[in-house]
Symmetry: C2
Subunit: 444 residues, 2 copies
């Protein structure tokens, strides 16, 4: 039997673990699910004969190394910064590995040795990155096979709340790591626009947004991801003029989020040590001048035209001006904000999340000088707050691709992402069985 | 003989090394000056009988540990982030240590062991931090001895260019680590204003400035330092309402620097890989929208009322709109900006720098309800581009305090900063011999 170790059994691992267990009989897999909290691991296995739940702390190096040695294939569902120890052990002991996360610098260092040893280091094989690569490359290859030349490729993705469960003015609830949402965009976003490299610093990222329409869900804000440029080579788009990857939020979200950035509430590098004595109103006041006006009036004055009625409704919803107590004793501004948002943006029992994705292509065919436009869109609604669209669309691409590797549908060694036909074709075909189907539309 | 090791012989170590050598005969000191570049170490020693120059790479742990073992007192003039290895070795081998830098988290960890072993860990004993602590505490103690209650303490310091050498519209040339100048203020500044904690995020730091006057040099901009709050306890100012530490620049500097922040040019977390193909004009254009206007017009439109004629003169001086080639192949926006500024803000042969400092006190005496105001100001002009006011005011406080410790004028173990009378009184007295004299002025 093939021994598979899944490290990390949090919400985003649910669909992955289900899939692996479901297929374990046919393909003779023994699945070990390891989590710091053994109970969570056991819940995810729900007594399956081929599953074993164990308690495991990633920082226990001896146990980590011994566990990895005992398995043939390791899937890490840990937060991204924790993959590197696992990856080093996998390469040392000759084990294959898979993650849904971006290829990190630490992973790149291991590429040569993994290739030499014939080990798979599958990365960027979740939703975004992952499904975006697979579905985008399918269209890129189709256009290229017709002799087409792609001049513009924009690709957007967002994890949001389903319309039926959308009962807050932000149109947002956490279906993913809240910390990543609060810190999103720090640094400088880089993309290509009309043949020119463009940069957006964090302090302007949420003011320079696009508006994207995905029927029947309406309009969304899109802010630029940090790196769009690196994918020009990866996708083989060498003559492209415009290349942008972005994140989708409900319309109006970005304007309101920009208030937090300008205020300073998303800073994670400073510690506020007396937070327990503060309310969110007094915390905001701390970031504003010492004048007699109300906190809201001072904030409006600071924001000038970067404020509107919808912004006010969204901030009011968070009780920011109601002297709501902060219940953390200390933390960075970003941690205090996260603490509030985890309460206000919680997926409730029976709430459904939704992921949306849209690729926008502009290309020229050899038969005509005219620019052709093609949009390809996806929306997936979750089942409930455990079986989320996020967990499904992150976990299934990873699980299916691991299965296709183990069943020899493709071969690869070293760092691999789902951009090749032999990986994305069976992946996209199987995802259709789960209702994950892109809607392609020629724009005229 | 007492064996003293000075690590780092850069420009800021000049006055320190001179002082230690000058006093080495009387006090029987053998001085070793260690630098990555042996030539630089030799220049600083200029053949003094009690001095030895050696080549030394801090990352060579064996050599570092062996060197530290061979000496009795270690002075680290390395960049701040490099002190911790030295400090760990000093505590392990039972050696005293001194730096001019802020007390770091790594240093705090060593405090208990150093105290137990009776080892001095002198920190914050340069200019700012250092001379500001000593001169501020002298006034605080004087006011307290009169029964006074201090309600407000603001303290400002800046390393600038002397009026005679001020031939650029920024009023600034580098007398200190350029990287620190370009990255200054990132994070959140914290201070106390009228009894209330106040925070300023980096994106607004250079717009929320004070104006400070120091005669006869005129007006200066002051932006808040990152941490003013931590010094309330250190200075024993428990009933204070307003506590602010700030950095001084020529008037107008902050408004112009704010353009770089808003543009995104001070970000150090992203890499621009094709910088060698760009001009500074096209780099700036990369941070601006794709429209037909000139780069300067787009920038003015972005800045709105955060731009004035002086700003334009200052930016023009840097040739930002003249298609000047970038001569680095790659780097973060901050590194590319630093590269330009190192050319434009270079201290030339015979240029003199200047350091300015001002403490502003408001206090009540037991004899009156009226608020008393006292300013204490210092300006020191350097000799030339090697013997700078910066090197003098950083190096002398450290050198004098080390001498006073070695000659048993004070005793201390563990982390020590120059805030106690037994340290600051002889320090300030000896500094007066070098013309470093504060001008105290009652404000009416």
């Amino acid at each position: 039997m093939t021994k598979i170790l899944i490290i990390g059994a949090g919400r985003s691992a649910t669909s992955l673990i289900d899939y692996m267990l479901r297929n374990s009989i046919e393909f003779k897999w023994k699945i070990t699910v390891a989590d710091v909290d053994q109970k969570i691991a056991e819940e995810k296995i729900h007594g399956h004969a081929n599953g074993t739940a164990i308690s495991f702390n990633i920082s226990d190096a001896d146990k980590r190394r011994s566990l990895i040695k005992q398995h043939d294939f390791i899937i890490s569902m840990l937060p991204a910064f924790m993959h590197s120890d696992v990856a080093r052990d996998c390469v040392e002991f000759g084990r294959h590995m898979a993650t849904a996360s971006y290829v990190s610098a630490e992973m790149k260092v291991l590429d040569a040795e993994a290739k030499q040893k014939g080990l798979l280091l599958l990365n960027e094989c979740g939703l975004d990155p992952g499904l975006d690569h697979a579905s985008g490359m399918k269209l890129i290859d189709e256009i290229k096979e017709k002799g087409g030349e792609i001049v513009s490729f924009k690709s957007f993705c967002g994890g949001l709340v389903a319309p039926d469960s959308n009962d807050n003015p932000w149109g947002y609830k956490f279906s993913w790591n809240p910390r990543n949402v609060v810190l999103a965009g720090q640094g400088t976003a880089q993309y290509l626009d009309g043949g020119l490299m463009k940069f957006i610093p964090y302090n302007r990222l949420f003011t320079q947004t696009d508006t994207i329409e995905i029927e029947p869900y309406g309009k969304f804000d899109a802010y630029a991801n940090r790196d769009s440029i690196g994918y020009i080579d990866v996708y083989g788009l060498f003559s492209i003029n415009t290349m942008l990857r972005g994140t989708l939020r409900q319309e109006g979200y970005c304007k309101a989020w920009n208030v937090f950035i300008k205020l300073g509430l998303t800073d994670d590098t400073s510690k506020i040590t007396h937070a327990g004595e503060l309310t969110f109103t007094s915390l905001i006041d701390s970031f504003l001048p010492n004048t007699k006006e109300s906190v809201k009036d001072k904030l409006k004055k600071l924001m000038k035209d970067e404020w509107d009625e919808q912004t006010e409704v969204m901030l009011d919803y968070l009780e920011l001006f109601d002297e709501k107590k902060i219940t953390l004793n200390e933390g960075s501004p970003a941690q205090l904000l996260q603490h509030l948002l985890e309460e206000k943006w919680k997926l409730k029992e029976n709430d459904k999340d939704m992921i949306v994705m849209q690729h926008q292509f502009e290309y020229r065919l050899p038969t005509s000088d005219k620019i052709q436009k093609l949009n390809s869109s996806l929306a997936v609604v979750g089942q409930d707050q455990h079986h989320t669209a996020m967990a499904l669309t992150v976990g299934l691409p990873l699980a299916i691709t691991v299965k296709n590797f183990l069943t020899k549908k493709f071969k690869s060694a070293g760092i691999t992402i789902p951009v090749t036909k032999e990986i994305y074709t069976p992946l996209l075909a199987e995802l259709e069985e789960y209702g994950i189907v892109f809607n392609e539309q020629i724009i005229t």
